[in-house]
């Protein structure tokens, strides 16, 4: 492989890493506010993507695809937000705070439930996801040479993800809702005593995380071309890896780690092929766990 091939692999990977970053942000947001892991998160995100397929099937079919692509992303985001809220209500809302294992197992259950629903309603077949970006963006969008170009669909997804992240950070740091969310994350009891309803803040956080996840789900559908229940586990694992490498609870960490994992993954793919790729990603995770367990941006967390 030439240098330019590596450059191409890293570029594509980093842009694809945008959806790892979004999934990682979802895990990390929920962990930051509740100090708990929601393992059903990525499944709910794909649920949103499936829902957008369903809506598309109702409105338009086949080649004359009825829904404009951006609406497709929007439908997926809204549906996933709704699913995330349902997961919150079922698995978190009524479980006592200190039964962390109970919520964890409940989310595992919710994961399988969503997966089963997806398997049964599609007979286990992968569903074609419309190439929503085709014909809208040039491909390749920017061509430097025969060996190096930037793919239009990936760039679109990447920019869309960046916008979503920007909006999220604005929400967190420029609005009162975000202030309440950060207050609950930092000092739950004190936040309550500032008149903030922890329950409502938690629910809102799940919805926000779900919206990001739904966006990521539709992006993956658009990038891969198919939706399959077989994607649920790998994406959950990747999301958790990104969350750990970035530092639990750190949003900038999730973003950087998502892009990092995306980029490296593509290099591993180019070097060693699809069968070995994930082994090296796991190795990366173990290196972090061994030498920097708090992740890139994590602090040695103290919470009372």
């Amino acid at each position: 492989m030439e240098f330019v091939d590596y450059l191409q692999a890293v570029t594509d990977g980093v842009m694809q890493g945008a959806y790892y970053a979004l999934i990682g942000i979802g895990f990390t947001l929920i962990f930051g506010v509740m100090n708990k892991i929601n393992l059903a998160y990525a499944a709910a995100a794909f649920g949103g993507a499936y829902a957008s397929l369903g809506v598309a099937a109702l409105i338009g079919t086949g080649d004359d695809f009825g829904l404009p692509p951006l609406i497709m992303f929007l439908v997926s985001a809204i549906a996933a937000g709704l699913f995330a809220w349902i997961v919150y209500t079922i698995c978190f809302r009524f479980t006592p705070d200190h039964y962390e294992l109970a919520t964890l197992m409940a989310t595992v259950g919710a994961f399988f439930l969503i997966e089963e629903i997806a398997v049964h309603s599609t007979a286990g077949e992968p569903m074609d996801f419309p190439e929503v970006l085709q014909g809208i963006v040039d491909d390749p969008m920017i061509e430097f040479s025969d060996a190096f170009a930037i793919r239009g669909d990936l760039l679109t997804i990447f920019l869309l993800a960046l916008i979503a992240m920007g909006l999220l950070l604005m929400l967190l740091y420029r609005t009162k809702l975000g202030l309440a969310t950060r207050a609950v994350a930092q000092q739950r009891t004190a936040a309550q005593l500032c008149g903030i309803s922890v329950d409502r803040t938690n629910a809102t956080t799940f919805i926000i995380a779900g919206v990001l996840g739904g966006l990521a789900g539709a992006m993956i559908g658009a990038a891969v071309g198919v939706l399959s229940p077989l994607l649920f586990v790998p994406l959950t694992v990747k999301g958790l890896i990104v969350t750990v490498i970035g530092g639990l609870g750190s949003i900038p960490g999730a973003i950087v780690a998502g892009l990092l994992v995306g980029g490296l993954e593509n290099v591993f793919l180019a070097l060693r092929g699809i069968t070995e790729r994930d082994m090296y990603v796991m190795l990366l995770l173990f290196l972090f766990l061994a030498f920097r367990p708090q992740g890139l941006f994590g602090k040695k967390a103290v919470r009372d």
Partner: protein, 253 residues
């Protein structure tokens, strides 16, 4: 203003608070003292809604708040500080106050969107006022976690005030303060009382309690053993026994 009737809280077999009765009248500074482990902080947590009592009732302003969760007691007009400081450490001083001010604003205007939209000028002005009152205006952009200990204590009181309470629960606000800081706190508490804020002060620093309070209740093993003006309480034999006879610790923090 606040009436605690027959209040009990048991943790397993331990009676942290045991059939406690007291009344705090509007406009007074009421002291709650007692040796370590006598149930003072538990009482504060019960009133603030953090714990739910095993028995008894708490009535505030004619409203039964016995089972009310913290955000409800806050909206009823009760704000508090913590024995071990609980600030939003990764927020600035200004943001810490802004969080509390928001909910007050939301309640006052009755506008559910007040939480979502940018703040009104009045709310911002109120935050400025609390910054000045607590002598923290020059630290507004510092992260709360980076403040000195005394400043953190002041900020916590200011944050409680920013919720515009009628009733303030202060859990050992003078712990770890030097004499000068205690004097400042004393003055601030008097100013607050003059503004019409009723205060329940849990404190070990006797210089402060005996100076500033109007009345005091003394707890020991979760029960009230005395109540009265500071000088009455100082003369009380049961109180002397509780502090001196308690053996270990005595009246320290």
């Amino acid at each position: 203003m606040l009436e605690v009737v027959n209040l009990s809280k048991h943790f397993g077999g331990v009676r942290a608070v045991d059939e406690l009765d007291f009344r705090v009248e509007a406009g007074e500074i009421f002291g709650l003292i007692g040796p370590n482990g006598s149930g003072k902080s538990t009482t504060v947590n019960l009133i603030a809604g953090i714990f739910s009592p095993t028995g008894g009732t708490i009535v505030f302003d004619g409203e039964d708040i016995t089972e009310a969760p913290p955000h409800v007691t806050l909206h009823a007009g009760i704000a508090r500080t913590f024995q071990n400081i609980r600030l939003f450490n990764n927020m600035t001083v200004w943001e810490n106050l802004w969080v509390a001010q928001n909910s007050a604003e939301q309640k006052r205007t009755g506008n559910p969107l007040a939480r979502w939209m940018g703040g009104s000028r009045r709310a911002a002005a109120a935050v400025e006022e609390y910054l000045d009152f607590s002598n923290l205006a020059h630290k507004r952009d510092e992260l709360a976690g980076n403040l000195a200990f005394g400043e953190q204590r002041r900020l916590e009181v200011a944050r409680a005030l920013a919720a515009q309470p009628k009733f303030l629960l202060l859990d050992e606000p003078a712990a770890g303060m030097n004499l000068e800081e205690v004097k400042e706190l004393d003055e601030r508490l008097r100013v607050l009382r003059d503004r019409g804020v009723t205060i329940l002060l849990v404190e070990h620093v006797m210089e402060l309690v005996m100076e500033v309070t109007d009345r005091i209740a003394v707890l020991n093993f979760g029960r009230k053993i005395a109540e009265g003006t500071p000088s009455e309480v100082q003369q009380n034999q049961a109180v002397k026994d509780a502090y001196l006879g308690a053996g270990e610790g005595g009246a320290d923090a």
